[in-house]
Symmetry: C2
Subunit: 307 residues, 2 copies
């Protein structure tokens, strides 16, 4: 039996345009590292927190809460020390809390000799999301645990599908470092929408799922639209329209808000195209007075990985 494990806990893009609240994807080289060790104290502890100033009390930490839910389910009193090396910034909109929750339950599950499948780990990781946002959603923990593209079909019962990931997809992520709280970003969404817009949205989502199965990159681009949430949430994101226009002019297939923002994503075909899009965004952002991070990543088909 392993006593210690080191994992890569990936960032994720949720609310992919027409897939608001259901569709997300997993990033490959943007994410945290975590080391989880068994201890002999029958106690769950967060023993290290680097990179971000986040709570270390188990009940206040998303990783702690997620692992606790899992151990309770197993009626286990095993002790674990969790070390978290955050690289994803909290509040960036690329699944910072989900990475920690998913990484922690994945790692502890491995150390316990895998009593659960990755899909079975979802409800535990979702408890971390409940702590982080008040809502036990699966938008980010699903792609973080399962990798690739995931579709949350339903919550009652919880059913998450893994969808294929066309190999040439690359994602450019821009994180403008302004604060947008998930709660605020949810609050401004209209709770009622027109049926006409809903029909357009599900037409696009159906087409997007088809595009993933058929490796139809152009169709994928034509489907990454959102006339419901993006027009409202984008108001909170500085230069959203400009950066969207620049990305699409530089050849991005599609562009939208990542999660509840403020990060935005540009979906691209091929690494060279993604490099071009990234360079164009950087050129624009250099002229603005906002600190930002820019990432370029392939889709990560595995999710959390052992390092």
């Amino acid at each position: 039996m392993m006593e210690e494990i080191k994992v890569f806990a990936p960032a994720t893009v949720a609310n992919l345009s027409c897939g608001f609240d259901v569709l997300g994807c997993c990033l490959d080289n943007v994410g945290d590292e975590m080391i989880i060790k068994k201890n002999d104290l029958n106690q769950l502890r967060i023993t290290k927190m680097e990179g971000q100033d986040l709570p270390m009390e188990v009940d206040q930490n998303v990783a702690g809460v997620a692992v606790k839910a899992m151990l309770e389910k197993l009626q286990s009193n095993e002790g674990f020390d969790i070390e978290i090396y955050k690289k994803i910034k909290a509040g960036s909109g690329i699944g910072s809390s989900a990475a920690s929750s998913a990484g922690a339950v994945y790692a502890v599950n491995k150390l316990l000799d895998s009593p659960f499948s990755s899909a079975e780990l979802l409800p535990f990781a979702m408890e971390g999301e409940r702590l982080a946002s008040g809502n036990a959603h699966a938008d980010n923990v699903a792609p973080a645990l399962l990798g690739g593209f995931t579709l949350v079909k339903s919550y009652e019962p919880l059913e998450v599908l893994s969808l294929p990931s066309p190999e040439e997809l690359n994602v450019v992520i821009l994180h403008p470092q302004i604060e947008v709280k998930t709660k605020d970003s949810r609050a401004i969404i209209k709770r009622n929408i027109s049926l006409d817009k809903a029909v357009s949205q599900w037409g696009n989502l159906g087409a997007l799922v088809s595009a993933l199965y058929t490796n139809d990159y152009d169709l994928l681009g034509r489907s990454l639209k959102d006339d419901i949430v993006e027009p409202i949430r984008s108001i909170l994101i500085p230069y959203f329209d400009e950066i969207k226009a620049i990305s699409l002019e530089s050849g991005a297939l599609g562009f939208g808000i990542s999660g509840s923002g403020p990060s935005v994503y540009a979906m691209c075909r091929g690494q060279q195209n993604a490099e071009n899009v990234k360079a164009s965004i950087a050129e624009f952002m250099e002229k603005q007075s906002i600190t930002y991070d820019l990432h370029l990543s392939k889709i990560n088909p595995e999710g959390v990985k052992i390092l």
Copy 2:
């Protein structure tokens, strides 16, 4: 060059549950027959109308209007005689007008040596729907022309996708012979819906598209849900809840309203299962005082066919 052609013009199921306004499928042995002949009069005529009492003036007939739109596009003054042998009852909710429009443009296109692809025929057939319902929708003409399952991704621009048809699918159609006008059935729909229900709906639609690509019959059944339109429109359909319960208890994968009703469909896996479902529905309907038709059909992967 052919001078005359006889075609099968299939019935179709539109508004497939979560695919309201976007998803439809084509039936195999339920449909009309049409004979189209060239004439030397440079005149478009409806020369026969059997089975239903429908207008024979070209401008009042859906087939006439559709073919006229096509000939105008070609700037052709060729003359054609259209004979329509209706087996689909008008107002049944299984695409009676679409069958005539689609069958007519398909046949005339063949007689003209196919200047258009099937997809290019869609806008002409949609003109027939505009005449029939006041709305140039593609819900039924798309599956009638393209066969199998079709997804109307968008109208501006018009984009329709052909989706795979799992081979074992069989559809049972019940047409209770009460009158439900498409216009009335549209009028009672709420024009605004809750975002939560819309999200559930597009989660299901995404899953349904995935199920068609993966031949996952159970997932397909779990996805054929509609909490938006069905609860309202089903009020107009006698015994809807009872027949739905009977169908699902008899093993149907899913059940819902066909088009805008009053027909309902039960999607089944395998012919034997479909026969069971059909028998159970018949047993129930025999006790009621409503005249009805019951059909059982495979999915028709081709659409309109030359006979």
